[in-house]
Point group: D2
Chain length 350, copies 4
Amino acid sequence: MDGNAMTPKASFRNDYSEGAHPRLLQALAQASAEQNAGYGLDAHSTRAAQLIVARLGQPQAQVHFLVGGTQTNLLAISAFLRPHEAVIAVASGHVATHETGAIEATGHKVLITPHVDGKLTPDGVRALLAENTSEHMVKPRLVYVSNTTELGTIYTKAELQALRALCDECGLLFYLDGARLGSALTAEGNDLSLADIAALTHAFYIGGTKNGALVGEALVVVEPALQADLRYLIKQRGAMLAKGMVLGAQFEALFEDALFFELGAHANAMAQRLQAGLKAAGIALLIHSPSNQVFPILTHAQIEALAGVTSFERWSPHSDTHAVIRLVCSWATREDAVDALLAAIGHLVR
Amino acid sequence: MDGNAMTPKASFRNDYSEGAHPRLLQALAQASAEQNAGYGLDAHSTRAAQLIVARLGQPQAQVHFLVGGTQTNLLAISAFLRPHEAVIAVASGHVATHETGAIEATGHKVLITPHVDGKLTPDGVRALLAENTSEHMVKPRLVYVSNTTELGTIYTKAELQALRALCDECGLLFYLDGARLGSALTAEGNDLSLADIAALTHAFYIGGTKNGALVGEALVVVEPALQADLRYLIKQRGAMLAKGMVLGAQFEALFEDALFFELGAHANAMAQRLQAGLKAAGIALLIHSPSNQVFPILTHAQIEALAGVTSFERWSPHSDTHAVIRLVCSWATREDAVDALLAAIGHLVR
Amino acid sequence: MDGNAMTPKASFRNDYSEGAHPRLLQALAQASAEQNAGYGLDAHSTRAAQLIVARLGQPQAQVHFLVGGTQTNLLAISAFLRPHEAVIAVASGHVATHETGAIEATGHKVLITPHVDGKLTPDGVRALLAENTSEHMVKPRLVYVSNTTELGTIYTKAELQALRALCDECGLLFYLDGARLGSALTAEGNDLSLADIAALTHAFYIGGTKNGALVGEALVVVEPALQADLRYLIKQRGAMLAKGMVLGAQFEALFEDALFFELGAHANAMAQRLQAGLKAAGIALLIHSPSNQVFPILTHAQIEALAGVTSFERWSPHSDTHAVIRLVCSWATREDAVDALLAAIGHLVR
Amino acid sequence: MDGNAMTPKASFRNDYSEGAHPRLLQALAQASAEQNAGYGLDAHSTRAAQLIVARLGQPQAQVHFLVGGTQTNLLAISAFLRPHEAVIAVASGHVATHETGAIEATGHKVLITPHVDGKLTPDGVRALLAENTSEHMVKPRLVYVSNTTELGTIYTKAELQALRALCDECGLLFYLDGARLGSALTAEGNDLSLADIAALTHAFYIGGTKNGALVGEALVVVEPALQADLRYLIKQRGAMLAKGMVLGAQFEALFEDALFFELGAHANAMAQRLQAGLKAAGIALLIHSPSNQVFPILTHAQIEALAGVTSFERWSPHSDTHAVIRLVCSWATREDAVDALLAAIGHLVR
């Protein structure tokens, strides 16, 4: 945008600044030239679902392609719960804070508990169960986690196992928001596979929008008891695309080989390069992130200066003099853009 | 699909079998390679909105780009109404029959009245007002029409003026579903412009999905009193795209010149060629359609035979021996496909 | 109210003009002087539920005491249905017309079909099933009938059996609105017992408000699969009384002997005396009612004159010269009031 | 219940164990013997509303009689808010914790902030406003307080003025839950009148159920902009009593002289006698309550022993050895019952 000495630099505001990976665009152009059945019943959606299910080890799993994360969360949660049943989430959870009350708009309360490094713990779940014990309170019924979390951290297999065990013990459903699942499954320290996610949850979604697609999330409903009539609910919520192949063709491209994982790995690599550079420059971090979001702590003056150089999100206050910003890398972030940003920041903190 | 003598033939099932017009695909590819602001705040969405408003003669109008017709209808109607207020629609109206109760799922009743050639009349509105007169009944508040109608017919300017006058007299809002507005405004006998639609309604939407876009509808809110906080509601309903430029770039391409109208005109021309050919072949029609949907009446045997040749929707029973089917042309329908279909039908009815 | 020659006369506007039968008032006063557990967990509610269940032959049935008919209908229907599931009712059904969209406000569409003498028929149900066949439409799931109907007619055992058989065949729930069940079960020609109602429905309610109580309806949920967590939903809808004994004590009085039935029988007897008198006076009726509501057809002038004498509801237009009014008798209607009304009407029509 | 030496004792579980004050029962019996208009349009409801408005100094105020607190809260809040607007409440607020998600079931999020002695502070409101600043979050719109609070504390006039000033500054509505307003306005240290409440809020309700009525709350809507069509919404939520005089007659009795205040004062006097006795016995209190709820801290053994003597609510854990219980007095609590309870407790703690 501007032309000062420290630039040109790309935006680090989020992982949806860029559009689709070229292979997805090409798949879309090809499918666009065909005649396809409507409403998600096209051959591309069918094949994309098959490609995903083939990676899960859960042949009974159902896949539905939807348009965005909030839509997917509200669709799934309102489909799974009776009116008095509530969601358990951490206070920083996307459904709790950044969906304009979408879950409540479908009639359900979101019960919140503090996070630990962005993550929900069995103790957090137990605390809410202990407080909500009679018909004068909502009935906790669905445990919501996101992976990566809103702080860029990831769950380990042991952590998800512990949560699922508690869910089974207490009759709770376990749902995972995978808006950034591509980044999570390729992050430093990750020990989970897509099949593990499927084995440990009742339902989850695989984010396309933040991992190389123009639009698209794949809702995977593993638990057969939750599968009935979901297409009715998708239609009712305004979430059924007439040209469903738009979603199917993109997910086909993401999953016909390992592209989905490659894109996540690239975003992580760029962010890790950035995080390492920040540390080397002596900049404090809110949290060590293993994934594609990085949270440096800067002075207000540094932040203002940086805002002239690139685009980012102001995350939270930190002290009288400092605040936290968020820098996000995506499948499309270039190494030279990271290096340019590091150079610019190095210039600021010198 | 099959290779018998009468084929190959294209699908006439609906106007969303094909993808996007090449110019929209190209615009999308170009925008996809840029970095754009998220959530519909990108330059493409802004410019597309300006291009649309420039055609309306209503500089105060707000434009929001959404993903599909059901989503747009439920978003707008639930944003405009208080909980006890109801919609007035014809029994064949899309919101009344083919949206899986999406309006009711937001809490609002849809009151229905018979249609006249697919259209709502002032008498139909008055009948519902006469029946719903106290706090024991819902309060009729929003009049819903679609143009073209679900039967392919179109409203005249005088008809919309009469409905709007009644709305003003009775304190009702007037909303127009323009899923097929491109076809309506270029249909035989149409005397309405986009500016007329804007002048005569409080809000309406311009359908992209059925007129050359991959996805996308442009909700136009003309009435300032209905504009407040709509972005909150769009987010809450899961209707705000992270990559809003997907919609903006397509509508930019549709409206930077007359492409939107050209595509509608083409669909109509193909359907009129088809309708004329059916008449010439002595086939009865449910209704004379001036637009891109045609409703021949065939025997059950003819319908079964035709199903082997092309794809279409079975519309309604007609008599013991006959039924109505629907044949739809789109921006992408080719003249030779129409002629091949006519030849195939000619063969069947001989 | 006024003192003209034809009066004093009581109101015939509805069956809730008067308060509670003296035995209910006494029970209330007695319970009011005790200390009782809250929220319907008191001894009176428990005993009242037992007294009702004892008459049903369905020991597994659950009874919940609620405050009014609309509240009971919306509570039960929204508890039983998933979001995309719809109600089937006749167009004159209370949930379809006179509850201000209460069912829709909980998210569910009410599909309507014409009535036959106020009643729903298997053909009416089948017609709606035939129209709603895919995920683009709501899924019909619960059949709603009222007994007596809104026109004062009653269902026979054979009619309910036929509807239930169809429900079983098609996977539908069968729900009966018994706002006037006391009148129905004691009406001329009735062949149903409370136990029959319980055997033939999945859930129903027994109206107290229109049969001798100040407030109160007893929702009976016969089907175990529909019983889970209803107290959560009652609380959530604002339908759980802190002083639940108000309802329990009254239903105890209604069901510890046959008072409930005696009150219904009295209302019917008064209405039949009235209907017979009207016939004898040569006045046409909209329908022959076997219960406590009577629907004479009078000239506009007669109706205006009658409005100076008593209170009633104007039901519907009938012709240019005539209209239908509704006259309702209750547990509290006195024979001399009926005779005075007949005398007054006789005077008008002479 | 049992006959040991320390008894007989009344329940101190809540303020709705007893029924109605004799004068209300008598009013009810009298009205019950009349014929009254239905649906709250009766002379008793009209007069009761006039009696209340006469005390407010706000002649434009509207009064609606409803059945219970949760019903009143959900009715008012859902009537006043658009779908994306949210409630601000303290975490201990009744709408936040003890209404089974009734507010969320109408589609609205309840944002919570910590309480200070049970009360909401301007700083608490400001903190939530600072966190909810864009269309990705709900829009805070209605400030909810209860007086007395759930901890028995009361607001001063200065506190309500400060909250209202902040509401005016930020475009928020101010709503007061007066389930225990009778107790609040007669509590030690109270400097508020009913007219002050009306002047400082946009809407509030006057609790009858916990202050001498069988059922009944009077919703007062002071702000004209919030008054439109409320009877539609009352009917739609199942909150309109057919025999509305049941509520009207009771509120007439409460407000035709000072009975409402006398009953609150009595409950407070009994609770203060109890609280003073507990202090004299050396028992610690969670909080000093000026009203009809008292919160002693006892050992687990003492609590178990006390449970054999009277009935009360276990409020919250306090330490490994101690917990908090709640003792509530009502309009019907007798001095000898308080003294007997003090004697029993004295026996336990000796």
